[in-house]
Symmetry: C2
Subunit: 488 residues, 2 copies
């Protein structure tokens, strides 16, 4: 097995190699698409299971809307069409036919109106809302959808930006702006807690600038995370749509006073991109490191044996632990492959980021022990098998906490408060993390900074401290700092 | 609330009305597509949860492949292209642009090669298998995918035939034909058991004729069910692909003797169509009837009250039962809406097919009782609340069994062994169920019968009895009967 390029040498190559060697995904023969291989997909399944429960627990119901959106729907919301109807997959025909030895698109099968493969589903869902919502009794309307969407991206990278990707998209309608804003915040917090508790990723919650917000929203809230190469990754968004879509799709309700009002909307989503965040937040030069609460394989057991007789003895010896762990719903893999040496297996499971390895050999049986090896610290511990169960649970918890704390302290060590533009430019060039700096609030300044440094305003952090200062670029007055970074 | 058209009066109208009034789905503004509304989608979620576990328990792993398939892939398997590359959604362009006040497809964005929205994923998955399979150690390869697929159908009906639908598709590769055939049968049995145990639908297992089999398969096995209007519905299929796709996509493995061989393939799937089967197997003139094991709401509790004070008393009274049921993971809905009368609620939950209704009023509190009303038989039972828990569980089991038994006896009462062609024609015209008749085995005869009667051979049932007879159409010798019906 070839070694992985180190993160310091070439982070982008390291990223691609980890994806390939950990068997997460591969490029598809279709432009900009990827194939989610079983190991990668099982991470997504774990994310879905946990997030789906959280979405339902906050009162949302799942539904499913068509993947095809009539072209005209995009024209209905002016900002939305600018943002989303540019690079997309367009269905124009509905029949193939044989032509000599080729199959060709039958020109006679051209559609009257072209269909767009959904880049996001606001338009088709709000079209339904216009039929579903009649009175205040129908509100709030809280829908979620798990689906594939498509954006014909120019430059693609596995998980981070692909032509087709998987996500959940929530769409809700409310009687008041205040209630819609509360929904936006509830879902932002839901994502934040999910990140903290399960993915071990510390997010920064914030509001997007006018320039960076969702096309068709009043306000966009975001969760930003710092990757190990010092770049920011937007990991989830929650939009206050205001009345943009209710006005475009004529979604009115009869209020308690019997008069018609437009509803207030929200939408919010998290996609397979989050797997990219997992890789780049926790991974190291040995490969992936998965937080125990999201890992498809939480523990791998590697037996050290010379023959089948020894293997069987180890199987008998370890069975009680496996049973106990599985009773607790912990995913254990017993790697009894005879064709590979233990060193090869260690390496393979390290690349795949399995949080804890248990090694058992004939000596362990003699001494009544097992060996535990943590993926995060490589710390080795020989423990008595009879008392090992609680020890294992404790270590898994500890790995989960440690990954979060390491990510948090990495971020803290790469967060800078900068007041001088040349220092700012230096820092950004080095892609050294998050920079908190003053900004005059104008889109022109924001764009100038982006042109000159490639830095974007990732967000105005929530609960930002009031602080009088001067814009790093224009020197104009500013009342709080915003967060800059280079980003994916 | 308007009454539903009776099944006898107009079955097809009854079907559409149940879907609408039970809030399962509605037609989308996109040709031939439907919107799965929350109640309908939650049935699909239950199906997914159970079936996904069964698929994993039989050793398969989930993955995800792109929705776009390059047009050329369809040409690789000659039969497959005939069967699937005809009516399909074709992506030809990837950009829209503003043109005066319209958005139009940018002609400059035409793709070099068109993409087909997957009607099924054999081609793109076998393309991956050609890279993933190297040696016998990689086999069997057992993959499953949950996905949306698209077939541009001419005549569509909700759940039964829609342009886009949801399904799972399993794809496997094996070293021998025998092992592949065992896989085909394992999955056929898995579907059969799932139908029997959860959906309460008795399937007929059988083999498709040459004429009806999957395009690109050696053999297709099917599960056929009888709907209440006497028509057959194909509910799931399992295909022995033989070496068709391994040869088209050059999927060879190194066997233990170090020589290259083509692998043997299977594929199998069940789709949202199965919800149509649920509706038409169990539904009655009052609406849907859902088997308890698949129902999103298993029990609805309707309180009979005159004011909030009474409602609160009922809430307190019934709480212990709700808690006990929820502890057992039984989905209970307490319908405390004040704006609707009990009669309206009874009607609504009957249409939605909730298996068991609990009614509680002030008299019940006085008498320490609750009233149980079964959806399948409308039988009413007043039981002591203290002993009601076990009673409720018993009744749910009983409803599950009863639905299966009713469907089975309906099928048995609508199964005919016919030897005379004019009698056959009469029966088929009446759409009176399954007809077992002799057939000479020729495709021409099969097609003639279809032309003259609209009956198709649904399958050659597995374990069919050997019996010398004469083909109902040609009078030629036949050794066993096959199953005919009109079908969806």
């Amino acid at each position: 097995m070839t070694a992985i390029t180190s993160q310091n040498e070439n982070f982008s190559e390291w990223y691609n190699q980890v994806i390939q060697m950990a068997d997460l995904a591969e490029n598809a023969p279709v432009r900009g698409c990827m194939i989610l291989k079983p190991y990668g997909y099982s991470i997504w399944e774990n994310i879905q299971k946990i997030l789906d429960k959280k979405i339902k627990d906050t009162g949302h119901k799942n539904a499913y809307f068509p993947i095809f959106i009539p072209k005209s729907y995009f024209s209905k919301e002016a900002e939305h069409v600018d943002g989303f109807a540019k690079e997309c997959a367009i269905v124009t025909h509905c029949r193939l036919k044989q032509n000599d030895n080729n199959i060709i698109v039958d020109p006679e099968s051209q559609l009257d109106e072209e269909y767009i493969i959904r880049p996001t589903s606001e338009t088709i869902i709000w079209n339904s809302f216009s039929k579903w919502i009649r009175s205040y009794r129908d509100l709030p309307m809280k829908i979620n959808q798990w689906a594939n969407v498509c954006r014909w991206e120019m430059r693609t990278r596995p998980f981070l930006r692909t032509s087709e990707f998987l996500w959940q998209e929530g769409h809700t309608a409310h009687t008041t702006r205040q209630e819609a804003l509360e929904e936006v915040m509830t879902m932002l917090d839901t994502y934040y807690d999910f990140g903290k508790e399960y993915l071990a990723i510390p997010f920064i919650k914030g509001r997007k600038t006018e320039n960076e917000k969702f096309a068709g929203a009043d306000e966009t809230y975001t969760l930003e995370a710092l990757m190990k190469d010092g770049k920011a990754l937007q990991c989830g968004t929650s939009h206050l749509l205001g009345q943009h879509f209710s006005k475009s799709f004529d979604v009115k309700y009869l209020n308690k006073n019997n008069s018609l009002e437009y509803v207030w909307g929200t939408s919010w989503g998290i996609s397979t991109r989050i797997i990219g965040a997992l890789i780049m937040t926790h991974g190291d030069d040995k490969g992936l490191i998965l937080p125990p609460k999201i890992a498809p394989v939480q523990i791998v057991i590697v037996p050290i044996f010379n023959d089948v007789d020894e293997l069987n003895k180890i199987k008998d010896y370890i069975k009680v632990i496996i049973d106990e762990l599985e009773k607790k719903d912990i995913a254990v893999e017993f790697d009894d492959r005879e064709e590979y040496r233990p060193g090869y297996k260690f390496n393979e499971w390290e690349i795949k980021g399995v949080p804890l390895r248990i090694v058992v050999g004939m000596n362990d049986i003699k001494n009544n022990t097992i060996e535990l090896v943590r993926r995060d610290t490589f710390e080795k511990l020989s423990v008595n098998i009879d008392t090992s169960f609680n020890e294992i649970l404790k270590i898994l918890d500890n790995i989960q906490d440690n990954l979060y704390n390491m990510a948090l302290s990495f971020r803290e060590n790469h967060t800078f408060f900068i007041n001088d533009y040349s220092e700012f430019k230096d820092k950004i060039k080095k892609k050294d993390g998050f920079i908190f700096a003053h900004w005059d609030g104008s889109t022109i300044t924001e764009q100038k900074i982006k042109e000159e440094t490639q830095a974007t305003i990732r967000c105005v952090p929530l609960n930002v401290k009031q602080e009088n200062g001067k814009c790093i670029y224009s020197n104009r007055a500013s009342e709080y700092r915003v967060m800059f970074a280079q980003n994916y």
